[in-house]
Symmetry: C2
Subunit: 327 residues, 2 copies
């Protein structure tokens, strides 16, 4: 190998809205370069989505020179089986029992790995982000859904059937809101982006001309979690109440995770986490009321550091671990 030549992993973050592809140095330690983002456009069909992913990877490979690419790390919404590389079911993308890893590997002529997107987020933050150096790290992604991952001693915990770390479907309200998964009181049923929006809309009394309603010109179908956040910042009482309640739900989830895993850090990312300290501050205070001091003192509750690159970095890190050993 020529001295100074950089070897790369292509990291791929497949979301329901966006595809992101970037190159991460095999040795880590630096942010990904040449990150491309395109719309996923799932309505175009699962074959089209695959073609778009492959085209983006090929561009990235060509740019660096094929000989400088070690392989491809893929992160996708689950449930999926990292061993076989098969996506069990992703309703958003129309994939079912879909051998995504091998299809991409064959199309690109490079070895590939596949893992769940929330696991990739957590692994990325462990490898190069807020969770560096932690023996035990839990990651939570707050977005359209709520995902989670657990990394212990540098290994993603997959569990017996790839389902470990499913923070979003932990129930914190035994008789609470019905969740799309069929259970009740799941964290996701309260604190995902759409759930925050729905709860805020429910909270507005009929015909009220509150700040939240005015922000969407009275069209409550247009309310999003971000608009709820804006309304709360502007003093809207309904939005404020829903956000306080959301922080309480998330704090209970984080406390439960600490009770089970007793980690050195919990890293929170995803779109909803863009609210930053306005969300994290109340979460930390409430977790402190729910967790024994000894376990709280060893555990930091942090916002992810890698922003929108976490998934790309984590997917590349998973490839690195599988083919080149733990960093």
């Amino acid at each position: 190998m020529t001295v100074g030549r950089t070897r790369w992993i292509v990291g791929v973050d497949i979301g329901g809205t966006n595809l992101r592809v970037g190159r991460v140095p095999l040795e880590g330690g630096a942010p990904p370069v040449a990150v491309r983002r395109r719309s996923t456009r799932p309505a175009s069909g699962s074959g089209q989505v695959l073609e778009r992913i492959v085209a983006m990877i090929r561009e990235s490979v060509a740019e660096a020179g094929r000989d400088n690419i070690a392989g491809i790390g893929l992160g996708a919404p689950g449930p999926l089986d990292p061993e076989s590389g098969v996506v069990a079911e992703t309703p958003n993308l129309g994939w079912r029992d879909y051998p995504l890893r091998d299809l991409v590997a064959e199309a690109c002529g490079l070895p590939a790995t596949l893992d769940n997107d929330a696991n990739c987020f957590t692994y990325g933050e462990w490898w190069m982000g807020a969770g560096r150096g932690c023996r035990r790290l839990v990651g939570i992604t707050l977005g359209t859904g709520i995902g989670g991952g657990i990394v212990i001693d540098g290994e993603i915990q997959h569990g017996a059937s790839g389902g470990a770390g499913e923070v979003g479907h932990m129930s914190v309200d035994v008789r609470g809101r019905r969740c799309a998964c069929g259970s009740r009181g799941c964290v996701e049923a309260y604190a995902s982006g759409p759930a925050i929006a729905a709860r805020a809309v429910e909270a507005i009394p009929a015909g009220s001309d509150c700040i939240l309603a005015s922000l969407v010109d009275g069209d409550l179908d247009g309310v999003t979690a971000e608009i709820v956040s804006q309304a709360a910042a502007a003093g809207d009482r309904y939005a404020g109440e829903v956000l306080r309640d959301t922080a309480g739900i998330l704090a209970t989830a984080v406390a439960n995770v600490i009770h089970l895993v007793n980690p050195e850090a919990v890293v929170i990312g995803g779109g909803v986490a863009n609210a930053g300290e306005r969300l994290l501050g109340p979460i930390r205070r409430e977790v402190g009321r729910r967790v024994f001091g000894a376990h709280m003192r060893v555990c930091r509750i942090l916002r992810g550091e890698l922003g929108e690159s976490a998934g790309v970095i984590g997917a590349a890190g998973v490839f690195r671990r599988a083919h080149h050993g733990c960093p």
Copy 2:
């Protein structure tokens, strides 16, 4: 070593009510022999409790011959630090920053290990009980308190400060009952023995002559979880309702554990679990409604097989692992 000679570990299960000491074959595979049980009598003072424990161990050692004893495994209520062998605080027993492991080891002239009682239960059931052969096992003990333990690949998961697997303080009811730990909605606040009794008493309307009240001759202070169970079996509606609700709470806790750990089995033990299938049946059905089919299919929900010996066996197993490697 003489052919056929059996080597033993002395297993010690220290509870708030009873002390149990027995010998477990170093090679495993057989139940403990010569199990002694004595009252803990914590009111006699922490020094007296230690003396009683040491006397029981010495009897057990003398019986087998000192040369045939590899060492001592201790299990005690937490929180405690398995590394240093120090019990941080056990209000029931009056121990605080108490170097239990080294005190016992010195008094008996044998090497010793110390771990949390619920961890020992889980490790025992993994080594010789219902959880044999599981890569990932979660144990839950239902008694005066609710404890939990996680064994992955033959290793007890202690977490960053010895607090992992604390199933009893997972909250399943964000705004629910206040728990002695300071949090709200903890599993222990609903489903421990004393909590079941307290909830049943609360459920009885003033002056009612229900079956439950008649079982204690109207002295509701005498209600225990076992009496609630008897009353429910005899058709008492208040007791029946509390037990159904308890099964729902425990099912939610088990479902949460499955969502985070995705184990091959959850083993439930402790006095409250003596209700057997009357409790486990409803728990299994409700967990099935709360967990994705793929993760449910790989996970058995079982009653512990080792009964009152689980703690003795598990404590011995922890010693075995530390000094002789994983079975």
